[in-house]
């Protein structure tokens, strides 16, 4: 998908693909030279990996999520996209966990830098949810929006086609509705599907969001979506919006967090926090990396490697004299403050899209929405006392 794209009324027209023709959509994408990446069930969870056929999708599966727990289980036997989010996010394809940046070669006493060829592939990302599209938009801002562009990300980003899926069910750790990032994919996709599964019919309402998307769709048997189809699709998304397992009240949240830098909340979280880094690595917008330099046994070749890092590691804040954030308290505060408050100052958007991964995949089930609520309650209590004092004086 290109960075900017004018969506015309025509390309926004909605079509219907019958379930029996769904493979043809995948075939059409492959025929256009795209490698397909989509959801698959592996090791007891939904992961993103290469797919080629409908059978590769988690057909008939759904999931149950709560803080610190995730289970795949049987759902509607026919449903293709009945599973919500797993631990993977799409950033692994655009911003890989490990990337060699360059090598250096010693030749005749001189050192030559050998640039790393970034050879992006055409990737069709199948099944991207609205919150994940928002997460990509956030990453775009971070990695492409400033003076220094991440060229590897940029190259791959330009080769990505997004096939979104509107959520037909919200999980117990989902809160995209309160972050205004879902459950409906409204922008940033080439195609957006809504799966409609009825007793005697199984089909997808498809909206194309780009010329490329419309081109792909023209190679697949479709029929124009009828008013009834659109209403059903809408009703599904509306229902999902009402099912959110969590919510995050963002009203004045930034301000409240800034007023809570010394709150006892952080000590209380620190008692439970493992500082393992899981929340940051499952987060679809966390972008921090570390850079490591290597040399080899011959002394002839060196290389520089970039790896996903986390603000929960000690080395992340290591400077001369020691670690800036040695305590778990400081590290959790840094992460949550950045996600919900300083990110806005830095990039003009929230760093949180409400996907709930950090809640589900925290091994001890720390819940960012709950911590935010505690901070809110403390702030409000403080204000109440303040007002009371004023009144009595």
């Amino acid at each position: 998908m290109r960075m900017t794209r004018a969506s015309t009324e025509k390309s926004r027209s909605q079509q219907v693909i019958e379930r029996r023709d769904f493979q043809l959509l995948l075939d059409a994408l492959m025929a256009k030279g795209y490698r397909l990446i989509g959801p698959r069930a592996r090791d007891g969870a939904l992961v993103y990996d290469e797919i080629a056929a409908v059978a590769d999708l988690p057909v008939g599966l759904t999931d149950e999520q709560e803080r610190g727990t995730y289970r795949l289980k049987a759902g509607d036997p026919e449903r293709l996209f009945g599973c919500g989010l797993g631990p993977h996010s799409w950033k692994k394809y655009l911003y890989p966990p490990e990337l060699r940046l360059w090598q250096a070669q010693r030749q005749n006493g001189n050192m030559t830098i050998v640039p790393e060829p970034h050879a992006p592939e055409r990737l069709a990302l199948i099944g991207m949810r609205a919150c994940e599209i928002q997460a990509l938009a956030v990453l775009d801002k971070v990695l492409l929006g400033g003076a220094y562009v991440d060229r590897a990300y940029q190259a791959q980003r330009e080769q990505v086609l997004v096939v979104a899926v509107n959520c037909g069910r919200a999980g117990k750790t989902c809160f995209c509705a309160s972050m205004n990032s879902g459950p409906r994919a409204s922008t940033g996709f080439d195609l957006a599907l809504t799966e409609v599964l009825e007793r005697d019919r199984h089909y997808f309402v498809v909206e194309s969001g780009s010329k490329v998307g419309a081109d792909v769709l023209s190679a697949v048997p479709t029929s124009p979506a009828l008013e009834a189809d659109l209403q059903k699709a809408n009703a599904i998304i509306e229902q999902t919006a009402g099912q959110m397992g969590r919510s995050l009240d963002t009203h004045r949240l930034q301000e409240m967090l800034y007023a809570s830098t010394e709150s006892p909340v952080w000590d209380e979280v620190a008692a439970r926090c493992l500082t393992c880094g899981n929340c940051t690595l499952v987060c679809p917008t966390c972008f921090c990396t570390t850079v490591e330099d290597y040399t080899d046994l011959t002394g002839e070749t060196g290389s520089r490697v970039r790896r996903w890092d986390s603000c929960f590691t000690m080395d992340f804040s290591y400077i001369v004299g020691g670690h800036v954030r040695a305590s778990a308290r400081a590290r959790y505060r840094q992460w949550m403050m950045h996600k919900l408050a300083t990110w806005k100052d830095q990039f003009g958007t929230s760093g949180c899209v409400g996907c709930g991964r950090c809640i589900t995949w925290c091994p001890v089930g720390i819940d960012i929405t709950e911590e935010a609520q505690t901070i809110r309650a403390q702030n409000e209590a403080k204000q109440d006392t303040g007002t009371r004092r004023k009144k009595t004086s």
Binding site: L274, G277, L281, L297
Partner: protein
């Protein structure tokens, strides 16, 4: 070969199973390059040929369990410019440090037919308890790629890339779904130092803690979670008392549950 010198490497064994020094022989393709880059001067496991010391780089495997070894390690230190300890025995006392939680005389009488022949210290202790150690490489056994990295880093006078954060970092980078969350399998990964490449979780097993405590291990929080998963205090004692039983964080946590 651009490096000017070819430093002398010595490999020393104390109380251990030899697995860590075998990691060097197990380097396969890299082994010849290692032998090119350093002079393997003292390595009884591999060759009877001994080049006299002093040595530029000593790799020390094993823990101190006898009075004899407690004295020998000082001679090794004196003969070594840089001393690197390798493996859980050398860095934490090893599995044999389980004796540290019991009375050693009772143990020798249970294990040996003629306990009076046994001369041993009451505790198995890491090398750093006895002499100054320049660098500690963790693991039971160590990861051979990390060993080679430590040797290269020594050759180039740089810090080795051997992180102290949790196993979770490696798990997530390789895309393994968390076994604690997705399967309810107790895992020590969140409090264990990375380095193995998150091997066990990749095969749907919980981490056993082979690389010892991570840089900021919240062992209490992981214990609480394990309890919620049905582990008894006795089981928690056993979980923390394995290869790194005498590493500070694991020892203290196991003591808590012994009650």
């Amino acid at each position: 070969m651009q490096r000017k010198s070819r430093p002398k490497l010595a490999i020393w064994k104390f109380a251990s199973c030899d697995g860590c020094q075998l990691s060097l022989l197990d380097c396969e393709d890299a082994l010849l390059a290692v032998a090119d880059a350093v002079e393997i001067a003292y390595f009884p496991e591999a060759t009877r040929t001994v080049v006299k010391g002093p040595y530029d780089l000593s790799l020390v495997e094993g823990s101190i369990t006898t009075q004899h070894d407690a004295e020998r390690i000082h001679r090794v230190r004196r003969a070594s410019k840089v001393l690197v300890t390798i493996g859980a025995c050398a860095t934490a006392g090893g599995i044999q440090a389980l004796r540290n939680f019991k009375d050693v005389k009772t143990l020798t009488s249970l294990v040996y037919a003629t306990p009076k022949y046994i001369e041993t210290l009451s505790k198995s202790t890491p090398i750093a308890d006895h002499v100054f150690v320049d660098f500690e490489l963790r693991g039971c056994p160590i990861n051979k790629a990390q060993l080679v990295e430590v040797i290269i880093a020594y050759l180039d006078g740089r810090k080795p890339n051997t992180p102290h954060y949790s196993v979770c970092m490696e798990c997530k980078r390789r895309g393994t779904p968390c076994v604690m969350v997705a399967a309810g399998t107790p895992c020590l990964g969140p409090v264990t130092q990375a380095g193995c490449g998150a091997l066990c979780p990749a095969y749907q097993r919980g981490c056993y803690g082979c690389f010892g405590p991570s840089e900021s291990p919240n062992t209490r929080a992981i214990s609480e979670q394990w309890k919620a998963m049905g582990k008894t205090p006795q089981e928690l004692v056993q979980v923390f008392r394995t290869f790194n039983a005498y590493a500070d964080a694991f020892r203290k946590e196991s003591d808590v549950h012994e009650g």
